[in-house]
């Protein structure tokens, strides 16, 4: 399988991390750690288990994400795209590097599904584009309600045909603006079509090489198609059965009927029940981290590897650390420290009498004594003065908080 496909990871453009303010002010989104492991390594690991070698993986980034390039240099090939390009135009710029059918991933997706199953499905259905979606069921069950894969309010409405084709896709953010008009030819191609609102699009697409051709042709026609998910995908879904679109792709004459059938344009959906989460806003980032801390029966396989490698570090006897917290190497913990359900990165210094709960603390952070930190995210090399109370605050890189402060719901940058 790995011979046939090339993986392309959209490493980060200008807009990457815009919803993750202030964590990504001077820090690439791809390198944000979840459970102390940078996000992009998750994707690279998943691809490696599926058999993709370094020569098959291509990461598209802009020049201001140089640290990412340095980090992954031996595991993938890097290609720099221009600064203002979006997902689809970035693909166009990299077209010489793309030689086969490809699988397009975004850099912020955490999935537990097996890529090989997806590739098998794509091949067997002879689809042009296959989207990986997760089916979720948010009906209130007993006890706590289930948590969605995407904590945003927006969701997609998809029309899925009986043979798993994707016939219509709209995003619903505003109740009144739903546009549910579908072309008749598209609807008639399947016997029964379900209108589903509980499918979460993981932004992983397996595409045939022809799709790149199509992008080229469309850009020649001056149709403004920059963004993959918001513009290109709805466009090809809407015109699935349109003869003009097919003609753009293949240049040879549409000859015999059975040949024509094989060349048809179809967009399929591979529905999985496995774990998936897209980490592009703060709530999802926190949720992903919390999910990585779950141990035992309900643990998520994706994160289990990390939990096994947790080093034993030394901490004083009177420190109360809950078993599901993750503490990185080289961290020094003072006396009478309470840590609950938190992730602490490497080489941190935590003073005495500190209470940390439900927080995410990255590398090289200094927390002075007598602090209370709840529901916060502290980025690399930040510092918190003594006797400070922080509640739901987010600190950017190199930020510092002065001593004896009580802050709540704040974003602090340098």
């Amino acid at each position: 399988m790995q011979i046939k496909y090339q993986a392309i990871i959209l490493g980060g453009g200008e807009k990457a991390g815009s919803m993750l303010f202030p964590l990504c002010q001077s820090f690439s989104k791809s390198l944000l750690p979840i459970s102390n492991k940078p996000m992009i390594l998750y994707q690279l690991d998943v691809l490696e288990t599926a058999g993709f070698g370094p020569q098959d993986i291509l990461i598209l980034i802009t020049k201001n994400h140089q640290p990412v390039a340095d980090f992954v240099q031996r595991r993938a090939e890097i290609f720099y795209v221009s600064d203002d390009s979006e997902s689809a135009s970035a693909l166009l710029e990299a077209q010489e590097k793309i030689k086969k059918d490809f699988i397009l991933l975004s850099n912020d997706i955490m999935i537990g599904a097996k890529i090989l199953d997806l590739l098998d499905f794509h091949y067997s259905q002879k689809a042009t584009v296959t989207c990986l979606v997760k089916e979720e069921d948010l009906e209130k069950k007993q006890g706590r309600g289930p948590i969605s894969s995407n904590l945003d309010k927006s969701f997609d409405i998809m029309f899925i045909g009986s043979d798993n084709s994707l016939l219509h896709l709209t995003n619903q953010e505003n109740e009144n603006q739903v546009n549910l008009k579908v072309s008749k030819n598209v609807l008639l191609s399947c016997e029964s079509v379900q209108v589903m609102t509980n499918l979460f699009d993981t932004h992983i697409y397996v595409c045939q090489y022809d799709v790149l051709e199509l992008l080229k042709q469309l850009s020649k026609q001056k149709l403004e198609i920059e963004n993959w998910k918001e513009e290109f995908l709805p466009f090809i879904i809407k015109h699935q059965k349109n003869v003009n679109l097919l003609n753009l792709i293949s240049k040879k004459e549409q000859g015999l009927f059975h040949e024509r059938k094989q060349q048809q344009f179809s967009i399929k959906v591979f529905i999985t029940q496995e774990y998936a989460r897209r980490v592009n806003n703060i709530k999802d980032y926190q949720q992903a981290n919390f999910e990585s801390m779950i141990q035992g029966e309900k643990a998520i396989p994706l994160y289990q590897g990390i939990q096994d490698f947790q080093n034993q570090i030394q901490f004083p006897q009177d420190a109360r650390i809950s078993p599901d917290s993750v503490i990185g190497e080289g961290t020094r913990i003072g006396n009478k420290v309470t840590i609950q359900r938190s992730i602490i990165g490497k080489n941190c210094t935590i003073g005495d009498h500190v209470k940390i709960s439900n927080s995410i603390i990255m590398k090289n952070v200094v927390i002075n004594s007598n602090c209370i930190i709840q529901h916060c995210i502290l980025s690399n090399e930040s510092a918190v003065g003594s006797a400070t109370e922080l509640n739901k605050c987010y600190l950017g890189c190199l930020a510092s908080v002065e001593p004896s402060q009580k802050l709540s719901d704040e974003c602090i940058i340098r």
């Binding site: 069921d137 008009k181 072309s183 030819n185 209108v195 059965k241 003869v243």
Partner: protein
């Protein structure tokens, strides 16, 4: 089951079989071995429904039932109700309601349905639904299959429990999901399914409330277009609910809309699709060839053919997928392909019949000269008219492969003459009424009242649009004076009225009445009428251009020629507009193509 009536609508209101249904109603068409209505009665009996009401328009049904003797069957109660001058299903149901026979639920069956759907499950489901909610008034029976014909092509949007949410026909290119009652929330499992593999079977189980709604909204004409559409989309609160019963895959039905479906239904019946309703076993069967007549050994009969009793087929004849009735005589060397022949037909030697329907009592002779007469409504199929004998000269054996034939005079004239005087009187009354209405109106609000008045007259007396338009034009001309201003004012005033009653089919009579008026009174100019009509959007460009072309070709008509000269400018103006429209349309075209309906 004791109170359960079955209502058979033993006539059709469309004109697909026009030449045939002028004399025999569709329910009395022979379907392979028996009449359609007999098949339906048989089916109803097997499903334990004994009370049948037949709604008819044609007296032939009364004659038929009076002479009907079917030994060995249980006694049925068959009531015949005359639906007089009903022009659509709605009127028929209103007529039925006025007889006050039906007190509870009933089964509505169209007169052209052949089916083997078992009604026990259907009625069980219906009663269950009624117990749950008194507002479930209609249960529509559908079966699964590939939608073949235009009339079958609908998209069914179905909710849980097979409740019908929306029924969309595929006239336009886009399908729009009705947003009024829909609730889409994140993460909920799917509620709505859009199905395109369901086919309406023509069987509906209705409550008495259905009849009441038809009476309330007396504009309802059809079940699908009006009633179901109203109940599912336009009503503000979806109180009344319509459910679907989806028959399991072995139970099918076929409606006979037009010739193709007629032939297809016959073939399906012969291939035992409608098991257990199949041609009788007493005929000789050889793998779906049924024949009880005498067929010469040197003839070839293909499968899916049926040859009735006492029919003689002589040598060297090839019969392919055709159905031949009783007492026919077919000569030597004929070729009958994909045709339906009724009873008592004589066909001489060396005749080819393809894709035709030949009704009872015809004699088809052979002669050297070939003469082909085509009927006006033919596309691929041509229709024969009825029962009197006539002499026809078809083609020779050697060459022509065309589909035939002929029409002839029939004995209908006497009927027409009898009814004409009545019609004329009635028509005169209408004109007088119209004149009085028109004379009174001088403001736009009065015109609106006039519209309502005329509407009620139309519905009460079932007058076709055409008569109303001609009557109105007579009245209209009376109030005009021969100057342009008067014309303009009159059109301004009556614009809404004319728009309401002159639609595409009445345009011809509208223009015709103006033309005759202008011919008679030289002070009025046809040109002005046409331009004003165009300005007020009563006529569109294409119609006017067609009319102008037509009148140009009239020879020896001074009026026409003068008119063509004066109207040339207007004609150029219209042609320019049409050219512009074509250009803009060409830019916006999408190139959608028809998807072949093959489910893999």
């Amino acid at each position: 089951m004791s109170e359960f009536y079955a209502v058979i609508l033993a006539d059709c209101f469309d004109d697909k079989f026009d030449h045939l249904t002028n004399t025999i109603p569709k329910s009395l068409f022979p379907f392979v071995d028996d009449l359609i209505i007999e098949h339906q009665i048989n089916w109803l009996q097997k499903n334990e429904i004994d009370k049948i009401i037949v709604l008819y328009r044609n007296q032939k049904i009364v004659e038929y039932f009076n002479n009907r003797k079917r030994p060995g069957r249980k006694t049925l109660e068959i009531q015949l109700i005359d639906i007089l001058n009903s022009r659509n299903l709605g009127d028929a149901l209103r007529e039925l309601q006025s007889h006050l026979i039906i007190q509870q639920d009933f089964l509505l069956l169209f007169g052209d349905v052949i089916t083997n759907i078992s009604l026990k499950e259907v009625t069980n489901k219906y009663h269950e639904q009624r117990k749950q909610d008194k507002m479930n008034i209609l249960l529509m029976v559908v079966h699964q299959g590939v939608q073949q014909y235009e009339e079958e092509r609908f998209l069914y949007v179905v909710e849980k429990d097979d409740k019908l949410y929306q029924l969309a026909d595929l006239q336009q290119n886009q399908f729009e999901l009705n947003k009024k009652h829909i609730t889409l929330t994140k993460g909920m499992p799917c509620n709505y399914v859009i199905k395109s593999n369901l086919i309406e079977s023509g069987i509906y189980i209705c409550n008495r409330d259905v009849l009441k709604s038809f009476q309330e909204y007396f504009m309802f004409a059809e079940i699908k277009q009006d009633f179901i559409k109203y109940m599912t989309s336009t009503s503000d609160i979806q109180e009344e609910k319509i459910h679907l019963y989806i028959a399991p895959k072995i139970q099918v039905s076929q409606r006979i809309f037009h010739i193709q479906s007629y032939h297809n239904a016959c073939l399906k019946y012969l291939s035992r699709f409608f098991f257990p309703y199949c041609p009788s076993q007493k005929y000789y069967i050889d793998f779906f060839k049924y024949f009880a007549g005498k067929v010469d050994q040197r003839s070839k009969v293909s499968d899916q053919s049926y040859i009735g009793q006492n029919t003689e087929v002589k040598s060297k004849t090839i019969i392919t997928k055709s159905i031949i009735g009783k007492n026919c005589k077919i000569g030597v060397g004929c070729e009958i392909v994909n045709s339906i022949l009724w009873d008592n037909i004589q066909i001489e030697n060396n005749i080819i019949i393809k894709d035709s329907i030949i009704t009872s009592g015809c004699i088809i002779k052979n002669s050297i000269q070939s003469q082909i007469v085509s009927t006006d409504k033919s596309t691929n199929y041509q229709q024969l008219i009825t029962p009197s004998k006539y002499d026809v000269d078809p083609f020779e054996f050697q060459g022509s492969q065309d589909d035939s034939f002929e029409s002839s005079g029939s004995n209908q004239d006497s009927d027409k003459l009898g009814s004409q005087p009545k019609k004329q009187n009635f028509y005169q009354d209408l004109i007088d009424d119209m004149i009085s209405i028109v004379a009174k109106c001088s403001t736009i609000s009065q015109v609106k009242e006039a519209i309502i008045n005329v509407d009620t007259i139309k519905v009460n007396s079932n007058i076709p649009f055409e008569n109303i338009v001609t009557a109105f034009m007579q009245a209209f001309f009376k109030i005009l004076q021969p100057n342009v201003d008067s014309l303009k004012n009159a059109y301004e005033l009556w614009q809404e009225f004319i728009n309401r009653f002159v639609s595409e089919t009445e345009v011809a009579s509208y223009i015709k009445s103006i033309e005759t008026f202008c011919r008679q009174n030289q002070e009025y100019h046809l040109n002005q009428f046409l331009q004003l009509s165009y300005q007020h959007s009563i006529l569109n460009e294409q119609v006017i251009l067609n009319y102008l072309d037509q009148i140009k070709q009239a020879e020896n008509d001074q009026f026409a020629q003068e008119f063509t000269e004066t109207s040339s400018k207007f004609k150029n103006y219209l042609e320019n507009i049409i050219a512009e429209q074509c250009l803009t349309q060409a830019e916006n075209q999408d190139g959608e193509y028809e998807y072949e309906y093959v489910y893999e």
